[in-house]
């Protein structure tokens, strides 16, 4: 790694543009006869984006400056807004995850029939979603971040509302209303920062690096914190703002659900990492106990509800609520290990959830039902499918040797460093995860053959090849976590260094620092 790339090429912008151009190109291949060409175009664009992400990763210097390959040009000088994109260790990991998942989804749904609308429309929406999410991860200007954050809603809204299941309209609107409320809260915070930065620097700026150096009065900082936090907590989804997720996931196609949970929700946590902690450190510390408690509730609540679900997609959604509890916990206990773990966890969770949704998607498209009770004994008919499913499930319940384990272990380790009680409570989440996952595998894959399941066929070579890389990545990261951690560690250190409570982590029973800092 660490071979530097020619800076004449705006890599960070290019990587956003490639899927966007792909999306536009796909909409031009409108005729039904061009469906095949459209698929290849979309796949090509997503592969190219992946390739660029890998190149960027090779050119990235983990030990180098925080923001690399920064490209910036003024956009709205009157508001202090510039179009600037750059890559940090954290965003690089998210970009890699996004591009991998987008390419996987397009490949995995190669033959998926689109019930309403056209395949071309579906692919264009997927690609534009990929582009917008990449933009959010790479944006170094808060205003641009916000604009893309909001714009992201539209493709998802249409993906759910047009291509989803029977209650798609309801799910799409619920998703949109939640997100809009979050977006407006963030807008309020953004206006607050605008006014503050104008007062502090004499001219407004939205540059994240500059804003991190700004100090604000305590009440202002807390008010602004709430605006951002609401937006990110809705997106991440943190209990009690998670209720849109099960509906949205259950009504989506497997590909949409993958992008939704695997990538889009990560934006919420990403926002906490790059905005809440660096820009509003004092408020973050002040409210950390509250966030940690919410995260713990999320871990347990999501897991318990997952056990009780009868619908596979809803079950996956609730497991994600639980996992996001872990991730947010990792961010807000303010220890280096936990933060590394949280970022690692995001990758692992993205990969395994994608696998679960896509493999279950194959199953559902053949059986025509998402209800768990409609299945049983699938492994007799489709052993490879069952095997793939099992790997994903095992990573989800954090079996050592798979990526999920590393993330969960690091987060728990960090949590114990901070507070034994928090660590213990979080650990029960692992037990519950074992219950809901293994029970699911047992009900669906083994046991007597249910009527209707005998029609289930094995995955095709193409399908296996599409999902196979996910398995490979889960194993790779499980055995060599350093590949990701080395990218993340310096960035996590920098983030923590700005947080007052993050420096010293001494274990204690309730050792949640928070409240008023001296």
């Amino acid at each position: 790694m660490a071979a530097s790339l020619p800076t004449a090429i705006p890599w960070t912008v290019l990587i956003v543009l490639v899927p966007l151009i792909g999306a536009v190109a796909v909409t031009f291949l409108r005729a039904p006869a061009q469906q095949r060409a459209a698929r290849w175009t979309a796949f090509g664009a997503s592969l190219l984006a992946l390739l660029l992400a890998v190149i960027l990763a090779i050119g990235f210097t983990p030990a180098g400056p925080g923001v690399q390959y920064l490209v910036s040009s003024p956009w709205l000088p009157a508001l202090g807004v510039s179009l600037s994109f750059g890559v940090t260790g954290i965003s690089l990991v998210m970009v890699l995850l996004t591009t991998v998942l987008a390419a996987t989804v397009i490949a995995a749904e190669w033959r998926m029939p689109v019930p309403r609308g056209t395949t071309q429309g579906y692919l264009a929406l997927l690609l534009s979603l990929e582009a917008l999410v990449l933009g959010v991860f790479l944006a170094r200007d808060l205003f641009v971040f916000y604009v893309l954050f909001e714009a992201m809603l539209l493709p998802v809204y249409f993906l759910i509302g047009r291509f989803g299941g029977s209650r798609r309209g309801f799910a799409a609107v619920k998703f949109l209303v939640y997100s809009l409320v979050g977006g407006l809260a963030m807008l309020a915070a953004l206006i607050g920062l605008f006014v503050e930065s104008k007062a502090a620097f004499g001219r407004p700026t939205f540059d994240m690096t500059a804003l991190a150096d700004m100090t604000m009065s305590t009440p202002t900082e807390r008010l602004i914190w709430w605006g951002f936090f609401l937006a990110f907590a809705i997106k991440a989804p943190l209990v009690p703002l998670h209720t849109w997720l099960p509906d949205a996931a259950a009504e989506s196609t497997p590909g949409t659900a993958t992008m939704l949970i695997g990538v889009l929700d990560k934006v919420g946590v990403f926002g906490m990492l790059v905005i809440l902690l660096p820009l509003l450190p004092n408020a973050s510390v002040f409210y950390a106990p509250m966030v940690v408690v919410l995260a713990l509730i999320g871990i347990l609540y999501g897991a318990v509800l997952a056990i009780g679900q009868g619908d596979m997609k809803r079950l996956f959604a609730y497991t994600s609520v639980s996992h996001f509890g872990f991730i947010v916990l990792g961010v807000f206990v303010f220890t280096g290990i936990a933060m590394n773990g949280a970022i690692f966890y995001m990758v692992a969770h993205g990969l395994s959830t994608a696998g679960l949704f896509l493999v279950a998607g194959y199953l559902m498209s053949q059986r025509g039902s998402a209800s768990i009770s409609a299945y049983g004994g699938v492994s007799q008919r489709a052993p490879l499918l069952a095997g793939l499913f099992l790997v994903m499930a095992l990573s989800t319940l954090a079996l050592p040797g798979l990526a999920g384990f590393i993330g969960e272990f690091l987060v728990l380790l960090g949590a114990f460093q901070r507070s034994v009680v928090v660590g213990v409570i979080a650990t029960t989440g692992i037990v519950l995860a074992a219950i809901y996952m293994l029970w699911l595998v047992q009900r669906v894959m083994v046991g007597p053959l249910q009527p209707g399941v005998d029609r289930v066929r094995e995955v095709t070579v193409w399908q296996a090849a599409a999902v196979g890389p996910l398995v490979a990545l889960l194993l790779l990261l499980g055995f060599f976590p350093q590949t990701v951690l080395s990218l993340v560690e310096p960035a996590a250190q920098t983030t923590l260094a700005g947080v007052p409570a993050g420096t010293a982590a001494t274990p204690s029973l309730f050792g949640l620092t928070g409240g008023e800092q001296p």
């Binding site: 714009a151 509302g161 047009r162 809009l180 407006l184 809260a185 309020a188 006014v195």
Partner: protein
């Protein structure tokens, strides 16, 4: 005899108003002397060229004339006045394009062939059989536009009142002239007339009290008197209150805007668009000048009132809009809600607030015109499909129209990359800087409510299956396409590249006192 002193009048600076009003008079003559067959094209040519010429003249005046009082101090030539004049002419021109369309309705344009005929009577059938179209609407439009141009530049109380009447009287008539659903239209005209005349009378009485207090009707003189006062004076407070009520009536702010939904629903749709855009621009412009120039010294008295009115307007406008089942009424309430957002910027009461209001007016007026233009195109056999249920599934049959309408609704909702977002950002920022944080919080709550409303309509267009009574989309003439296209294009352009216009409103946003 002693020689009389002649008032010095800068005719070049006055040219936009003169052009429009002279064209209006010529239009009346054309009605009398042109043969029936040539009238429509003649009137259209006259109206269109007068508005275009006036717009060019505004640009020339802006570039060449020094700012200051013109026409003996009755009018004021300054940045906001010129910007608003340009904006009024731009929106009026767009509205004229949409009004001139006679292809979307198989019977002709949006106006009754002969307004004097009884609705449903024998004469009316005869008129529609002969395909008659009336052309008096065009001189009426020109008179109205002339009034609007005067309204935003008036520099004394008398000119303000006269301009208000010049713009209102033709509008009362235009509202009652719809071709379809004529009874509804006539009732709307009556209601608008009574409410409008009441508002004028209130404004006039307020002016009388202000004159009684200050001894002059000139804005500068009143401002001077107010700056000299040491104690609170009932007379001047009553004057400000009454003038404010009169202008808020015209703007359609809660609680003075109950007429808005009825009138907007009943009026011919292109006229509704014109009222929602150009007339609202002028009314806000006049309000700004009145509050900032003569009564700027009483800021502490009127600001709390504006806070309350703005909050109520945003919240009630958005909430009631949610409950509507008629698209025109929904847009009417949405325009009320938008008036509330505009008032946030007005309440900020400084240069930043003023420039944010100017930008908001531009963003709002072009979007609103395009919205009503689109409403004219969505039709059932008996006329426009105004029931929201009939809009189900439009997105599938006419994706282009649905996309355009969605863009406009997104702009109303203040979604980034549309003009509406930059506009809302501007007024909110101005308000926070001026210390009106509670107002901004109310504004954000109202935005959330309004967003739900607009999303509901987008859902209906795209995701709801069409019902049997669903509307079709008439193929419009190039005129409507141009009008709507301009609105949509500006909505997007101002959302992505607002910088030049932001610079412009920042430079123009100083009232000459």
């Amino acid at each position: 005899m002693t020689p009389i002193s002649v008032v010095d009048i800068d005719y070049v600076a006055l040219a936009p108003v003169i052009i429009v009003l002279v064209a209006a008079v010529i239009g009346v003559l054309l009605e009398a002397f042109l043969p029936e067959a040539a009238r429509r094209s003649g009137q259209l040519l006259l109206t269109g060229s007068a508005v275009a010429l006036a717009f060019l003249t505004v640009l020339i005046v802006a570039a060449s004339r020094p700012f200051g009082p013109i026409a003996g101090g009755s009018l004021m030539l300054d940045g906001p006045g010129l910007f608003l004049q340009g904006l009024i002419l731009l929106t009026s021109g767009t509205a004229i394009l949409i009004m001139a369309d006679r292809r979307v309705d198989p019977g002709g344009d949006a106006f009754a062939g002969r307004v004097s005929t009884l609705p449903g009577g024998e004469e009316e059938r005869e008129v529609s059989r002969r395909g008659l179209m009336q052309t008096e609407v065009w001189p009426l439009m020109l008179f109205c536009i002339g009034g609007l141009l005067l309204f935003v530049t008036s520099n004394d109380l008398l000119t303000l009142f006269i301009a208000l009447e010049i713009l209102s009287l033709p509008l009362y008539l235009l509202v009652g002239m719809a071709r379809r659903r004529r009874l509804l239209s006539q009732e709307a005209a009556l209601k608008y007339f009574l409410m409008g005349a009441l508002a004028s009378a209130i404004l006039l009485f307020g002016s009388a009290l202000a004159y009684a207090y200050a001894g002059t009707i000139e804005f500068a003189g009143i401002a001077e008197r107010i700056s000299e006062r040491t104690t609170a004076n009932t007379l001047v407070i009553a004057a400000v209150a009454l003038i404010l009520v009169g202008l808020l009536f015209k703007i359609g702010a809660v609680p003075f805007g109950q007429w808005v939904p009825d009138v907007y629903q009943g009026a011919p749709t292109p006229v509704t668009g014109f009222m929602a855009a150009a007339v609202k621009v002028a009314a806000v412009g006049a309000l700004l000048r009145v509050l900032y120039v003569p009564f700027g010294g009483m800021r502490w008295e009127w600001e709390p009132v504006l806070w309350i009115v703005a909050s109520l307007t945003m919240l009630i406008g958005s909430l009631v809009a949610l409950a509507q089942s008629d698209i025109k009424r929904m847009l009417a309430y949405s325009s009320i809600a938008n008036a509330g957002f505009i008032l946030i910027g007005v309440a900020a009461a400084d240069q930043v607030g003023l420039s944010s209001v100017l930008f908001y007016l531009l963003a709002y007026s072009v979007a609103t015109l395009a919205a009503f233009g689109i409403v004219t195109m969505v039709r059932v056999p008996t006329g426009e499909a105004t029931s929201l249920e009939q809009w189900a599934g439009i997105g599938r049959r006419s994706p282009l129209l649905a996309t355009a309408f969605s863009l406009i609704l997104l702009s109303f909702a203040g979604i980034p990359l549309t003009a509406g977002f930059i506009a809302k950002f501007g007024v909110f920022t101005a308000a926070i800087t001026a210390g009106a944080l509670p107002l901004v919080i109310v504004g954000i709550v109202a935005s959330a409510i309004a967003a739900a409303l607009y999303v509901r309509i987008i859902v209906r267009m795209y995701f709801t299956d069409p019902v049997s009574a669903s509307a079709g989309v008439a193929s419009p003439s190039p005129l409507t396409v141009a009008g709507v296209g301009l609105g949509v294009a500006l909505t997007v352009i101002l959302g992505v590249f607002p910088q030049p216009v932001l610079n412009l409103v920042e430079q123009t946003s100083i009232f000459v006192r």
